[in-house]
Structures are given as C-alpha cells and as structure tokens.
C-alpha cells in the first residue's frame, strides 16, 4: 500500500517576496515571482474546450509558495524536495534506499546538471511558467505538450493522447522527460511516464532517482485559477516505496505569457561561459569573470 504524502495547497499565498535567505524573509527586495489572477477570478468555474474537455492551457505559475531559505515551490519540486512535498526534516531519508540517501548527502549543489543548463526533469519546477497545449488532429486530441519556460533547460514534454502504449524495451531509450502517454479519466488528465534517464536531480539538494522511475500525473482544474496535480513517483531503484504528492499551480494574470528562455546565452555557471561556480577548492583561476 502506498503511503500518502499530501500537500493540500488550498490558500492563495500572500505575495511573499521571492528574495529570501535562511535567516528569514526580508521586507525590501528586488523583483521576483509571477503575478497571478485575483482570488475572485480564481474562484470562477473552470473553462472547457469546444469538445467539452477541460481547458488546462494556463499559463500556470508553479512557484507561488515560498519558505525561508528554500526558494519558491508549489507546482513541483524545486530546491528541496523534502520541504516542497511537505515532509519533515529528515523524513525524505527514510524513504530513500541507502545508496540514494548517501548520494543525496554527498552531492554538491554546484554540480547539479540544471546549473549547467541541462533539463530539470520531472517533477522539478522553478519560477518560470508552464503551459499545457492540448493539440488536435481531425481524429481528435492527439497530443498534449507540456511547455516550460526554461526552454532548452526544460524543453517540451510530449504526451501521446492517441491510445498508443509505451514502447517495448528495445525502443525505450532513457531520456530526460521519458515517454509519456495520456488519457482522460472523466475531467482528469492522466499522464503516465516511463523511460526517464537517471541524470537529472529531483531537487537542488541532489535527490537521486533511477531509470526505473515511473510517474503518474493526474491533472485537474477545480476552478478558473487553479491547476491541481496529483503526482505519484514510483522508483523502486531509489525509493523504498512510492510517493504520492499533490502539487498546485496558479493561473497567471491575464496578459502575461511565457517568454523565450535560452539558458546558455549568458549562463555564467555552465560550460559555455568558461566559468565554474565558486567552491571550497578555491579555484580562482576558473572562477574569474571573462568580461
């Protein structure tokens, strides 16, 4: 039996600044966060597409909750999976296989693939918006594309809605976003994904997973302003049991859209910059500015 680890994100958070520190929230801050619809608008009924399916388009803000020293979260994991899914300190260690626990604690944040502009994987999220594109052919809804603003660092997720199955093992090559098939369970979009690679981290802390990871996402839009994601992570290679978590996205304010995000164009932490992050080795030669 699966143990439920549920975050019920029910309250539209106050506009807490994204600029935080482990010492606590500060009051005067530079910009951060994405404006979302008012609580009044959010409570309106969820719209439907012409064929009656729920309109899940968004764009959605998955990073509307904040906590000291943690960054923002809400629609997925971000800097610290343990806190982002509502676990108590130390609780995540209890559901990780010993090798995974050890790896998580040995990893350094500067080494995470995302810092080098590689994809974040699933269910990782960060302050950038998400849009869900429900795509049709003359035969009906054929694909759903889950877009994330991190662009090359996020790529697009392709969900096959045409009834096909996952490929057999010979054709299933491990990838950053795996192979996703989807279907409707009433008004719930179900996305089933296998074939993930083990390269991405589940959070900035280095929580690992294996190629055995299987995720099931159940998306619903309970009202105009909310996208609910009931997320199951099943990876017997790294975890001792499946995790079930509820994430919540908020609808962005009308007029705001996703924008272009080319991570490598000025990443001073990735390989393209010739720089490496500061670290305890004190390698100043590599860390100097090139400008």
């Amino acid at each position: 039996m699966r143990t439920l680890l549920v975050i019920q994100a029910t309250i539209a958070g106050l506009a807490l600044p994204l600029f935080l520190h482990s010492q606590g929230v500060v009051s005067s801050v530079p910009v951060g966060g994405t404006p979302t619809v008012s609580a009044k608008d959010a409570a309106r009924p969820a719209p439907r597409l012409p064929d009656g399916k729920p309109d899940l388009s968004g764009p959605w803000d998955g990073c509307w909750k904040t906590a000291p020293g943690q960054g923002c979260f809400g629609g997925g994991t971000n800097n610290d999976m343990e806190a982002d899914i509502g676990m108590k300190p130390g609780e995540l260690d209890t559901v990780l296989q010993p090798w995974a626990r050890e790896l998580r604690h040995s990893r350094k944040e500067k080494d995470e693939p995302y810092v080098g502009c590689l994809p974040m994987g699933v269910p990782r999220i960060n302050p950038y918006p998400t849009r869900i594109v429900e795509s049709y052919t003359d035969k009906g809804m054929s694909h759903i594309f889950i877009l994330h603003e991190t662009g090359d660092a996020g790529a697009h997720r392709q969900v096959f809605m045409d009834g096909r199955k996952h490929p057999d093992d010979n054709d299933l090559f491990p990838s950053w976003f795996g192979h996703s098939i989807g279907w409707w369970d009433g008004d719930t979009l179900v996305v089933d994904t296998v074939g993930y690679n083990d390269k991405f981290w589940l959070d900035g802390k280095g929580t690992p997973h294996t190629e055995q990871m299987h995720t099931i996402e159940r998306y619903t839009r309970p009202n105009f302003g909310t996208l609910r994601l009931d997320f199951t992570l099943d990876d017997p290679g790294a975890f001792t049991r499946p995790l079930e978590v509820t994430f919540t996205f908020k609808l962005m304010r009308p007029g705001l859209e996703m924008m272009e995000f080319i991570c490598l164009e000025d990443n001073e932490y990735g390989g393209a910059s010739g720089l490496t992050p500061a670290d305890e080795s004190g390698n100043k030669e590599k860390a100097g500015p090139k400008r």
Partner: protein, 139 residues
C-alpha cells in the same frame, strides 16, 4: 564588455538583516557570500537582459581613481519583465546607488540586492513594477 577591474575597495557592512536573493538558476550561497554586503555608487555600463539571469554592470571609482566594473546578477529577465519593468528603466550612463552581496571568489561578480538612480527615491526592479509602493530608497 571590456572590464576595468582594479584593486577592489568594497565597503563591507554588517552581518545581519541582509537582503539576499534566492537565485532561481543556482543556489545563492554557492556563489555569493551572504555574510558580506556592499553599498556603493557608480555608473551603469551595461544592462544585460539575458537568460538565465539578467545582469547589471556598474563602474565604481574608488578614492584613488581606480575603476572597478561590478557584474551584478539579478533573477530571470522574464520574471523582471512580467513585473512591469522594461529596458528603458535603467540605461548605460545612469548614475546609481546600489547594494550587493559580493561573490565568494570574485568579489565584484556579485548579486544585486537593491538599486536606484541617484536623485530618485525609487528602487528599481522591485516586485510590483514601476508603480509599486516603495519602502524608501538606497541611500
């Protein structure tokens, strides 16, 4: 941009009550020293609205006439734009007061925590956009 990096005379302030941003793309403490903070005046040389994080470059001249070009990181330019800020809100040549957290290894490659134009009581790039209620300005 051509850097004019000279001897660094940073004004290091107190250790508490710091305004420290969480950098979305990477960990703040990985790059910057949250125990330090500088408060300086300089001239903007470049505003880089590029991904993954925008940057403001500022020439600061010390009492000996040595110019240091500060490379200061903000968050995603997209996030800043969605709050209502635009490319004309800060331009090269603008004289600014700013506060920043220095880099751990290269001090003048820091994180920008506050910036305003000299003579204007308005903090730039804050949440809420240009019309946001200001809580005072950088001195």
């Amino acid at each position: 941009m051509k850097a004019k990096v000279g001897a660094l005379m940073a004004v290091v302030l107190g250790l508490s009550y710091l305004t420290v941003p969480v950098i979305a793309h990477h960990g703040f403490d990985t790059e910057y020293d949250p125990s330090k903070k500088v408060s300086l005046t300089g001239v903007v040389t470049k505003v880089s609205w590029l991904n993954p994080h925008m940057r403001v470059y500022i020439d600061v001249t010390d009492k000996n006439g040595v110019v240091t070009n500060w490379n200061l990181e903000l968050t995603s330019p997209n996030s800043v734009r969605r709050q209502g800020w635009g490319k004309n809100d800060l331009l090269p040549g603008d004289k600014v007061n700013f506060e920043a957290t220095p880099g751990k290894l290269v001090a003048n490659r820091g994180a920008l925590s506050s910036i305003s134009k000299v003579g204007e009581n308005r903090r730039l790039f804050v949440r809420g956009g240009p019309e946001a209620e200001q809580e005072g300005s950088v001195k």
